[in-house]
């Protein structure tokens, strides 16, 4: 992901630093375990790009609590490109890989993981994509940041931070797995959530 150079007068503020993100993910991992009463039938599906590393981190934290769980065997990636409702409005996007855990998603408790929840349209696409892949018993949603401005009746079950924003602002999530050091935000190469622009 390319980040344009900050123009003069651009407002940029860090709302979650690396330690904040880690704490939020630890809490979400515990919430998932609590809601599911353990790790049985649990599958974490990350939505590319940044949802997938977040799902991996959550799976590792869950494995820390329950050492009987192999984090890789409960994590997957769900690409929603072909299910988006704005394919005809935007330049062509290349789909990314969808990788499900070997156990599949039928009758599982699937937790969709994404970085920012905004209009809810990505999650709508993800729900459609899931239907074509199998029939989970329950689908839940975990996001690092909920910035509001929903356009569809969708809400998250697990939220790292509720972030009241104006729609003229942009929320950028930097994760070391996805974002190259050159594209790092004001805080350097680490993980952070930044709000840019706005009044």
């Amino acid at each position: 992901m390319t980040v344009p150079a900050p123009y003069s007068g651009a407002k940029q503020r860090v709302v979650l630093a690396e330690a904040d993100i880690d704490r939020a993910l630890t809490r979400i991992a515990h919430e998932i375990l609590e809601a599911n009463r353990g790790t049985s039938d649990l599958v974490l599906l990350g939505i590319p790009r940044r949802g997938f590393p977040l799902a991996q981190r959550l799976a590792r934290k869950i494995a820390d609590v329950d050492p009987g769980v192999d984090p890789d065997s409960i994590t997957g990636q769900l690409d929603v490109t072909m299910y988006r409702d704005d394919l005809r409005r935007n330049p062509t996007r290349s789909p990314l890989a969808t990788q499900l855990p070997a156990s599949g998603i039928d009758d599982k408790v699937v937790v969709l993981v994404d970085d920012v929840l905004y209009s809810g349209r990505t999650i709508r696409s993800a729900l459609d994509a899931l239907v074509d892949l199998g029939r989970p018993r329950i689908v839940r949603l975990a996001v690092l940041v909920d910035r509001g401005h929903r356009e569809l009746p969708i809400r998250a079950d697990h939220v790292g931070k509720n972030l009241p924003t104006s729609s003229s602002e942009r929320v950028r999530v930097h994760l070391r797995e996805v974002d190259a050091a050159g594209a790092a935000g004001p805080g350097g190469a680490g993980d952070e959530v930044v709000i840019e622009g706005g009044a």
Partner: protein, 344 residues
Amino acid sequence: MKHLLSTSDLSLVDTLQLLDVAEEMAAVGEREIKKLPALRGRTVVNLFFEDSTRTRISFEAAAKRLSADVINFAAKGSSVSKGESLKDTAQTLEAMSADAVVIRHPASGAPARLAASGWIDAAVVNAGDGTHEHPTQALLDAFTLRRHWARITGTPSAGTDLGGMRILIVGDILHSRVARSNVWLLTTLGAHITLVGPPTLLPVGVGSWPCEVLYNLDDAVATRPDAVMMLRLQAERMNAAFFPSTREYSRNWGFDDARLALLDVMGLDDTVIMHPGPMNRGLEISSAAADSPRSTVLAQVRNGVSVRMAALYLLLSGRGHHEENRGAGGALPRTANRMTQEQA
């Protein structure tokens, strides 16, 4: 990319994008529900002026898997046999608001004419024109080769090219649009191509192509190729004597049982045998070679659907030229102007 007419104008970046998208489409083909909603509401017309089995079925399957509507048009039994011109046929399709036209035509350049003439706004996909090009066949060959190359080198196939691969293309190069498309595309991907065939079946000017030319198949096999692509002897396009007898052709340039055994003797365990189909068994390829584990004939057919899905998706999704043209003043006045100019 507005049209897919030729592999010679495909850049390496475009080619790799197409092959990488095809990789994801192949994953969809292995699911229980082999359908994506990406092209819902779009219309794809298969406009076939020449006989075809696998290409037409493959394009139809690809369009349907992407949820597009498909209209099949075969020249036989249509108004073309009453003398309708390509232009009038195309404008009929335009009036039915086709979003993509997949065309196969016996005349080289017919798809390019359709794309450049302004008769239609739809994206044009060349499904074989005369002895010119057959780009989706070359793309599916490249896809098949890339998966094979990735398996033997132990790398993931997405994002990689064919650098270092040695490929023989054998037989009727003169009449083969598959050979032409493959020479440009596989060279773009970094492979080394050697054409093999009798001098009478090699085109004039082949010396300027980015490949080597050999006249003896056994000499060519001795260069230890990674893949051997056999071409169909196109008897229907041959209106002159190109070789003394089919038996002599088969003996000299057919991939027979003896040459199949030679691959084993030479220790070329990873060399694959390709054929675009339909095969003349016993002529350019023996049944033992066509049915051996080295043969990729069926994998090529399977990959054809994935590659064509990728091509249709990349041409039709996104804010295409289609809407832009209609937005900027509409297509009708433009067409009207052009017709006036042509009449003048």
